[in-house]
Symmetry: none
Subunit: 527 residues, 2 copies
């Protein structure tokens, strides 16, 4: 049986230190739940003493059921000259109720003098007392030896003495950190081997990507004996980021034969990576190894024909092992066959003319910025309209939005909608906490009495992407809306330079789709 | 004297295979000239037989003066069963007039059978005759052994036989390629050592980043004896990209003590990297090692206070060695020390009470969803207001927005603004292609006659981020706006459940900041 490597995810703590990433408590809960199901062994939720949002996260997290992961709270060794029993940072960890505490402490003499302004002896006492305090209270302690490798280069005896202090005080894991991210794999390997000679505890590795070597350094540490890897999804993290678990995990499992995730879970890697990017609102680089959209995309003609004969000629692993897909970048006619496949799924028949019209129409819409991969309900409405079988359930004459803001008051938003259902005219208005919400409310109010299905559906997600940012306030935006009723969820899209118009398109598609599905179900029940 | 490593840049050929990168001949000329001055030893201009644009590049390149680099043209071994004298791909290389030809050939038996459909013997003849043909005509030949490492794993004798063939036919360099990008540093090291035992020619390394290990693999190869590194600026390239020379070079020079560039040129690295991104129209990732905007950015409060005492505590190299800069970010994780640093930068003095008030205020705003690290102008306004030194240049009484859409017509948007400048009242209206654009237009119209500086500024970027997506259309949004005048650019932020109100806040800050800077400049000129 393959040897197990423990996965320690710090996306929620170290990852959120990345410039441009700011996670709400709700975001953190979503990410943590997904990573738990994925099979992380440890999830570091945050630093409760430093951040009130993190304390709120732990309060909510403690009420949830965790399937696989142990939650860890982060903190530092007690202050120089202080008492552990009075250290707010340690008391906050106890208050979270977690069973794992991750404590970072100094290992580099330079830091002891210059950052802590204390003596080498006092730093050892800080490590000993802090780890001991938490262990006595029943916590599993992960000791993160900050700057271990720099400290080891500068003063190896002292760096090792710090580790020994943490180990003898009862830490379960000693984690060696390349905090500044500047080490080379050979240095890591040599230092880990040395540590193994003097420390009789399981070791972990925590690297940063400042030299573009975080993944290589992590692998070198594992090969030298570390059994815990710390990192983040997509390598998020301060400066150049942390070790990217989305690359570390497949390298360990597929290339080196270790076991990290529960069997079969590696196939979720691409989805997990994209989910976390989505929640963090970070655009995933197309060329990201293993999980990127281009990671198995073949462009050159020679590559493409060879790949068709035997994929291993130009692919280092089969993409499906990490849940990714092969792509051949010859877009031209790829559309028609895809589209016929989609139409058949919906039970629609499109003739050749209809198909090529729809292909043209979709190409034009995509050129304008529409994206149907994330908006299959809008695509289905488009195909149904093209097949000539679709009847619009209502017609909108107009809508009007009024937003007003007076000095020092909150803005108000009001929407007026006039529409027709058959030969009946509905003219109504509603308020909302923003213009799109007002429009949503007015449209529901107008439709509910005719179509009770509208009452059963709700919008569950609303996304805005600015498509040409440099056009500033006159930029085009794409709006994606996700909706749900008791049984289904569906997504729709709208594009315009006017964000209200784009939202309107997506809203309208969402409601039409709800009615379409309702009609289909009624027919199915009547049949 | 440090040992020299030869730099071989293939941004113009392998780099341009990246999805989304398309370089014109003019682009290629610009990049090549910059890389020549930077100090590349070889610049691969393209594959003249495969791409007419590349032939045009070589025609133009031959008329230019090159200071440092040798231009190389790319091609493959002759066709199975063909004659070198009639091979169009080789004749095209001769036609370019370059003095260096880089020839790729098969080394992996699987490829010989499955991609070339020929025999192992014929492939050896193809290598021998192709290299010999070009050497006889006075060219320096770089032999790229495609898939060398995969071939070596599968059939080491044959892989080595291919290299021997190229070496004995007169190739000046034997370059070992990890074409599929899936190798690990240990495999690279072992194979390179083996090759050195049997090949008496200088060796090169060419890696891809499919395992996120291209830089580590390149360094491993150099440490095992390779003396040429092939790669691209910013790691551009097919799928996950090539070895990133912007990381390889500083690692070789600063960490391993080799010599790559002419003395002093490493300081141009950041500028070269950004220049190439600019020309390729690729947004550079902020977290790119060494050269990224965030590569030396410090966010956590502990890091910041330590860096201020001694930068090496949290920086693996001094940023100026690669022409980059240190930055300090403000965020909820940071304390008073970040803020004092910022205030000092702005020439503001905050007393202890003011500082702690601002820290509290920023924490509260960040809890609401504001983010100041990407909105330094909003932060500066906040700090100036806190210092009591700021006077608002105008007061807004109200604004009102009207958006209307009639069946089958485009939506219209109109904004009405009433504001006061001193004791003068301005009441005006404007249209726009969306509500925010209309508001922008109305505000400018109202302010321009009082503040001509407004005419000189323009908005250059507009970003919308939905903060709690599951709240759907009643979700809170954050808007970031970037603006620019002749000399500066600045960013501002707004947050609200009403997207128009959020945009309004960011717009207002942007215009106030423009007036603030204008005032500062006027004062500076008058002083």
């Amino acid at each position: 049986m393959a040897e197990k490597i423990y996965l320690y995810d710090t996306t929620l703590r170290d990852g959120s230190q990345a410039e441009g990433i700011s996670l709400s408590v709700e975001d953190k809960i979503k990410i943590a739940k997904r990573l738990d199901l994925f099979g992380m062994d440890y999830i570091e939720g945050g630093w409760p003493a430093a951040n009130p949002k993190d304390m709120e996260f732990f309060e909510r997290a403690q009420r949830l059921t965790w399937h696989h992961a142990r939650l860890a709270a982060f903190g530092r060794t007690r202050k120089p000259g202080g008492r552990v029993e009075e250290d707010e940072n340690l008391l906050a960890i106890l208050q979270t109720g977690v069973k794992v505490a991750t404590i970072f402490g100094k290992t580099w003499d330079l830091h002891v003098y210059q950052a802590l302004n204390t003596t080498l002896e006092e730093n050892l006492a800080m490590i000993r007392e802090t780890v001991g305090f938490l262990v006595e209270r029943g916590l599993e302690v992960v000791y993160d030896a900050e700057h271990f490798f720099d400290g080891y280069k500068n003063n190896p005896d002292y760096a090792l003495a710090c580790l020994k202090e943490a180990a003898s005080a009862g830490a379960s894991w000693i984690v060696l950190c390349d905090t500044n991210g500047g080490c080379l794999p050979g240095e890591i390997e040599e230092a880990v081997k040395r540590v193994r000679q003097v420390i009789d505890k399981p070791l972990g590795i925590h690297t940063h990507n400042d030299g573009e070597l975080a993944v290589a350094n992590t692998l070198a540490a594992v090969m030298a004996g570390c059994r815990q890897v710390q990192g983040t999804i997509n390598g998020f993290g301060e400066r150049c980021g942390n070790a990217n678990l989305c690359s570390v995990i497949p390298n360990l499992e597929l290339k080196l034969g270790y076991r990290c995730l529960p069997p079969g879970h590696l196939r979720e890697l691409t989805e997990v990576s994209r989910y976390v990017s989505e929640i963090a609102n970070v655009i995933q680089p197309n060329n990201q190894p293993f999980v990127g959209y281009s990671a198995f995309a073949h462009k050159g003609g020679i590559h493409v024909s060879a790949v068709m004969k035997n994929a291993s000629t130009y692919e280092h692993i089969p993409p499906e092992k990490v849940g990714n897909k092969r792509r051949v970048l010859v877009s031209e006619l790829a559309g028609a066959s895809n589209l016929r496949y989609k139409a058949a799924e919906m039970g629609l028949k499109l003739d050749g003319r209809q198909t090529s019209d729809v292909v043209e129409c979709i190409k034009e819409l995509e050129r304008q910025g529409y994206q149907f991969e994330g908006a299959e309900a809008s695509l289905e409405l488009l195909l149904r309209k093209a097949s000539g079988e679709y009847r619009q359930p209502f017609q909108v004459d107009y809508f009007r939005i009024l937003v007003e803001k007076r000095e020092d008051q909150e803005a108000t938003a009001e929407a007026i909608v006039k529409l027709r259902v058959g030969d009946q005219v509905v003219h109504t208005a509603a308020e909302g906490n923003g213009p799109v919400n007002a429009l949503d409310n007015a449209l529901r109010k107008a439709l509910e009495e005719f179509f009770p299905a509208i009452r059963r559906m709700r919008l569950t997600d609303y996304k805005v992407r600015v498509l040409d940012e440099e056009a500033a306030t006159s930029a085009k935006v794409r709006v994606l809306i996700e909706s749900r009723d008791a049984n289904n969820s569906w997504s729709t899209v709208g594009v315009s330079t006017n964000i209200i118009e784009a939202s309107w398109e997506a809203l309208l598609d969402s409601m039409e789709y709800a009615l379409l599905k309702e009609g289909a179900q009624r027919e199915a029940a009547g049949a």
